[in-house]
Subunit: 280 residues, 2 copies
């Protein structure tokens, strides 16, 4: 099944465009998990169990596992394996390097980790992206995965390079144009910050059929209504609205699971208010 079909099935099944970012920081874990063998894994499993019927995808960010040192890889792998197989897993790593190195990252995330989708930084251009589109060693075939190109991000630094104009056209749109070309090789998506206002509409017009990962709602303060209305497909959907800290740290007490569930329910409902056609 293609990534987009898997995503749509999860979105319809759970009536949700919410993607939960599994980005645990050891210092922020609730006391209730601290005695466990692998506290981060225990925390993640409880969060997944509490929210798996409320999301369209999960997005673990590799940095949070790499920073754990030696235990990081097994924690990430066991986390991914705990996610129900019908929910897509988008690994956020924003990698990008020359071909022989990019092939190793593709092997890491698509081969060893069996991710459904991966974020890739486009700065180094087409031959640095190609190995992610073409990797053939994993359990999931290339046509069933999705490569999300970092396009227009939610942070203030997006002004530094992403929005610079090349003959009147901002760099991030050049990235989106290339992503449309690369999408002919294997399925692509775009990372589009929820804080980016009407630029989201422009990108949706340019790339009407590429899925968008929308980070930046919640902690980063993006305007949810505008992001959802402008970012969704004409037919609805096509969006992964990501929230991390607002959900996983909804409570730092022993009620962290129910608090995460409540936060996820509230966000799902908030997103659904702005979907058209309305879900259901």
């Amino acid at each position: 099944m293609s990534f987009q079909k898997k995503l749509k099935a999860a979105a319809v099944g759970n009536n949700s465009l919410l993607c939960v970012g599994l980005d645990p920081v050891p210092e922020r874990l609730p006391d209730a998990v601290m005695g466990k063998d692998d506290p981060v894994l225990y925390f993640n499993k409880k969060l997944i169990d509490a929210t798996a019927d409320l999301v369209c995808a999960y997005k673990p960010n590799f940095a949070f596992y790499g920073a754990l040192g030696e235990i990081g890889w097994s924690t990430l792998k066991a986390t991914v394996e705990h996610i129900p197989s019908h929910i897509p897993v988008l690994v956020d790593a924003k990698v990008g390097d020359i071909g022989s190195t990019a092939e190793r990252y593709a092997h890491m995330f698509f081969g060893e980790l069996a991710a459904d989708a991966l974020t890739v930084n486009p700065y180094m251009g087409g031959d640095a992206v190609a190995p992610f589109l073409e990797y053939s060693g994993g359990a999931v075939e290339a046509a069933e995965r999705c490569v999300f190109l970092v396009c227009l991000t939610s942070n203030p630094g997006a002004d530094d390079f992403e929005k610079l104009a090349i003959d009147g056209c901002p760099l991030y749109r050049r990235v989106a144009e290339k992503a449309l070309e690369w999408n002919a090789v294997a399925p692509c998506g775009l990372v589009v910050g929820a804080t980016q206002g009407k630029a989201i509409r422009g990108l949706r017009e340019l790339a009407p059929e590429l899925p968008f990962l929308l980070p930046g709602v919640g902690t980063q303060g993006g305007d949810l209504e505008s992001a959802v209305r402008q970012g969704q497909f004409a037919s609805g959907g096509g969006l992964l609205v990501n929230a991390s800290r607002g959900v996983i740290y909804a409570s730092d007490d022993s009620d962290f699971e129910t608090a995460a569930r409540r936060a996820a329910e509230a966000l799902r409902a908030a997103i659904n208010r702005f979907r058209s056609p309305p879900p259901g």
Copy 2:
């Protein structure tokens, strides 16, 4: 001691601007190491022992360790620990993400791994770079590390975005200009592909005192003479000329150590021919 001083001391001590990339692929290891407990680590240690008096730095690329799965982190950490303490370690990971995530990558590479320097992808702008400049949790202080910004790379895809002109100034020069600003916060360097001809001279004129990591000699076919002559400081040095596959896979037989040493000696000598003032 600042990164630049440490680099200079190693370069003078070993009469070398050669940086060896430790990028092992399990399938390419010599038969002679295959029976070992951790073949990649054994291979790396032998390579380091064979070349530590010939290099100014080592550059392990994280992708090659991440791709090993569960053993990757301990292999990378033990590799870094095996490098003599007077030789700088530049970890190549080309990471970049919003602040809270970038802080985790900084913790991973500067905190847990105690790298002297790290490559960072600038696409997401200043606040995505800042956590690498400001990280304070490691054994090495910020002022003693170096953040190498991916600027102009050696691959054909450099044409896709890096060379696009913004008001007549290519994007990669905008990156270099920002790196000069960031260098006021903590020491920065630039990744400049050895294949990039006279653009290297232009970047050296723009940033006369930032160290350049020059990948792309050897397998990638960069012009060594032009890269060294145009990339070095006016006073000489300031360059890490990287070679990976040409050194570490100089032989796939039991003589891999002596072959790597010979390849490193030849490259060091080839680089030294183009240094001015001449070394020694």
